[in-house]
């Protein structure tokens, strides 16, 4: 057993972090948010690097990498809080890879993988604003383990997070049906959770840096335990988060029997932890933290928006409980046989 990124996966992470540190600075995020427009230069760069197609098989124009690699990219985009339609597009592509017929794949995946068409994924039974749906050309609407793919535009919604274009599906019954595939939903949960992990990790890293240099009472504020223990606890919660997210990514990728449970755990945990940690970071910065310029709010707002998206914490805990019940019955049966 080896529960850590491989050298190749770490290299992808380093490369993504480096590119985004240079090309998705908070100045860029802020101006995208203020103009309520995606950072088109960054999107062009992400397309040129093949990111929208990271998880799409090569025969449909992608890079054919797995859910772990996709999670790494999603986490780094969260870390940078980058303002591009990448999240929605990789979610749509990923769910089509598992739920679309080969004819549908042929039709939709190459343009998604190239980033020519932007995507989004919504749940039928849900009116939560869908990230990247506001300007998406293709929307996958998941329902149970099935769903539909639709080209009908969504109704744009202005939310507290202006760095992404959110929208609501107008007619969930529009479009063509997809095959049954629980993996489609599980994969999207993992990718969103990974993105939330990145948001929270950035907020913690910023807080560590700031409280180490900000002085009050003649000393760095991080020397006060009320401050350092808050950050230490955030680190513990994100340790749990990282374990849950990457276990889920692996489990869904290999089709492990725990895959759906693991994806539900990751989403339930991150829906809360991501908001708590980003919110806590605002507090740890004091008055500066509450300003528009401090940039923490971009992380906090996106974390808040993504919390209920594709089901919030309580919903996934409830799903998980049903799965645990089933698993228990099954294992009793095998014990007796």
């Amino acid at each position: 057993m080896r529960f850590m990124l491989s050298d190749e996966q770490s290299a992808i992470q380093d490369m993504a972090r480096e590119v985004l540190a240079a090309e998705s600075t908070f100045d860029r995020v802020r101006s995208a948010g203020e103009e309520r427009q995606y950072d088109s230069e960054l999107w062009a760069l992400q397309r040129s690097m093949g990111w929208p197609g990271v998880g799409v098989p090569q025969r449909w124009g992608g890079q054919g990498l797995g859910l772990v690699e996709l999670s790494v990219i999603a986490e780094e985009c969260g870390y940078a809080c980058s303002s591009t339609p990448l999240l929605g597009t990789i979610l749509a592509a990923t769910s089509l890879v598992s739920a679309a017929s080969s004819e549908q794949c042929e039709r939709y995946l190459p343009s998604l993988a190239a980033g020519e068409v932007r995507g989004a994924v919504a749940l039928t039974a849900d009116s939560t604003p869908v990230p990247d749906a506001g300007e998406a050309g293709l929307i996958v609407v998941l329902e149970g383990s099935g769903g539909r793919v639709s080209l009908q535009p969504a109704q744009p919604v202005e939310t507290i997070d202006p760095t992404l274009r959110y929208g609501r599906v107008v007619d969930p019954s529009a479009g063509e049906p997809l095959n049954q595939s629980p993996i489609a939903y599980d994969s999207t949960l993992v990718v969103v959770s990974a993105h939330q992990l990145g948001l929270a990790q950035r907020a913690l890293d910023l807080s560590v840096a700031y409280t180490s240099v900000r002085e009050q009472f003649g000393v760095p504020v991080a020397t006060f335990q009320a401050v350092s223990h808050r950050l230490a606890q955030a680190h513990v919660d994100l340790t749990a988060a990282r374990s849950l997210v990457y276990h889920a990514a692996w489990a869904v990728q290999v089709g492990d029997s725990e895959a759906s449970a693991s994806a539900a755990r990751a989403k339930a945990w991150l829906a809360e932890a991501s908001r708590t940690v980003t919110g806590s970071a605002i507090h740890a910065h004091g008055g500066i933290g509450f300003t528009w310029e401090a940039n923490l709010h971009w992380l906090f707002k996106r974390a808040t928006m993504l919390g209920p998206y594709l089901g919030g914490a309580r919903q996934h805990r409830s799903r998980l409980l049903d799965m645990l019940g089933t698993a228990q019955t099954t294992s009793h049966e095998t014990d007796h046989s």
Partner: protein, 378 residues
């Protein structure tokens, strides 16, 4: 990233699983002392099977197993409902400390008998005036020729009532900075001048004791890792202690969770959406702890050293354990609080978890200082 067991790990798991099925010690005696000896007998049995200290190098009677194989060991113990063997202070703390800092002679003398459970070990670190602030240890060891003469007191010394040897941290020099004047000894508990007194815990049982030293003589050959180097040797012991609690006990939390779950299901209590939601949150915390233990083992193995991560696991363990115990008491109902109930015992025992092996506050200090690299106040 590969979370399946390797061929070696699988082979070991199957082997050990089959072995436990044939050698299971049954259910625990309720008396605390009988329970201790029952767990000590379990260590002997494991040793006969070659499973007593998997992680020790083979030259000392272990299997040279990876930390991952050790995690498989704990998982299988938990799965079978078999106890963690007694004398863990020897196998998980004293043994690795002596391997790292001891002389060849000390290794030959002390290590093998630990596994046979010929010797029981205890940890004499804490004192009335030195708990979280271990460097404030006042028990003094004065050099006299090739001996040291020890006077002072230790407290909260678990299992000292059974122990043959004690890992003893003392002050040998009052003229230097606190943590530079410490020396670490192996103390033979049959030496004249030692008084042991059991301390009654809030569970009503006595696991820990106080120890008094009145001119106790220790040969200089019993120093571990040089006079004045006691602080660093003690840190080695504590790092192993926290990793063991985090991974070993952490993996076991699943059993408690399963007991709670069975009760809730049997009584239809999960139909209450609030109970169901809280239970599932605890399940996620438990799984996160198990997975974090595996992830940290992988990372430590790749790095080739144990770091401060044990502190993170211990924090997760004590937090989840306390929450689970509180939840159980609340949901099981009034019967849970009857004196002899297992629920009550777990609930009361869980209160120690945030104190023993370094309090949660101290562990958060460690995470802040050594993991996050924040500036320190003290």
């Amino acid at each position: 990233m590969d979370l399946t067991l390797s061929a070696d790990e699988l082979a070991f798991r199957d082997d050990f699983r089959a072995w436990i099925a044939d050698h299971h010690p049954g259910s625990p005696p309720s008396n605390v002392e009988e329970r201790y000896y029952w767990r000590l007998e379990w260590l002997r049995e494991l040793n006969r099977g070659g499973f007593a200290a998997m992680h020790w190098p083979s030259e000392y009677g272990g299997r040279g197993a990876t930390a991952m194989l050790n995690a498989v060991f704990f998982t299988e113990l938990a799965r079978a409902g078999a106890p963690i063997p007694a004398n863990h202070i020897a196998t998980f703390m004293a043994g690795p400390t002596i391997m790292q800092w001891g002389t060849q002679e000390q290794k030959e003398r002390y290590l093998a008998p630990m596994l046979r459970a010929d010797n029981v070990w205890c940890q004499g670190f804490s004192e009335p005036g030195a708990g979280s602030d271990l460097a404030a240890v006042a028990t003094f060891a004065a050099r006299e020729g090739d001996e040291f003469v020890v006077n002072g007191q230790k407290v909260w010394t678990s299992e000292a009532q059974y122990a043959h040897f004690c890992l003893l941290v003392t002050r040998t020099d009052r003229s230097v900075a606190q943590h530079k004047g410490l020396t670490y000894f192996i103390l033979d508990m049959s030496s004249p001048g030692i008084t042991r007194r059991p301390l009654r815990q809030l569970t009503g049982e006595s696991e820990f004791n106080e120890l008094f030293f009145d001119n106790v003589r220790i040969p200089a050959s019993s120093v571990i890792g040089e006079v004045g180097n006691g602080w660093r040797v003690a840190m080695t012991t504590l790092m192993h202690e926290r990793s063991m609690i985090g991974a070993g006990y952490g993996i076991r939390l699943r059993n408690y969770l399963t007991v709670v779950e069975s009760h809730l299901r049997a009584h239809g209590l999960l139909d209450d959406p609030i109970v169901a939601d809280r239970f599932t949150d605890l399940e996620i915390r438990t799984r996160a702890l198990e997975l974090s233990a595996l992830r940290q083992i992988s990372e430590a193995q790749a790095r080739g050293s144990v770091g401060s991560e044990g502190s993170i696991l211990k924090l997760m363990w004590s937090d989840t354990y306390s929450r689970l115990a509180e939840f159980a008491i609340e949901t099981v109902g009034p019967d849970a609080l009857e004196d002899a109930s297992g629920w009550a015992w777990e609930y009361l025992r869980s209160r120690a978890s945030t104190i023993e092996g370094g309090t949660s506050d101290i562990l958060r200090n460690i995470v802040a200082d050594r993991v996050l690299g924040l500036p320190r106040a003290r």
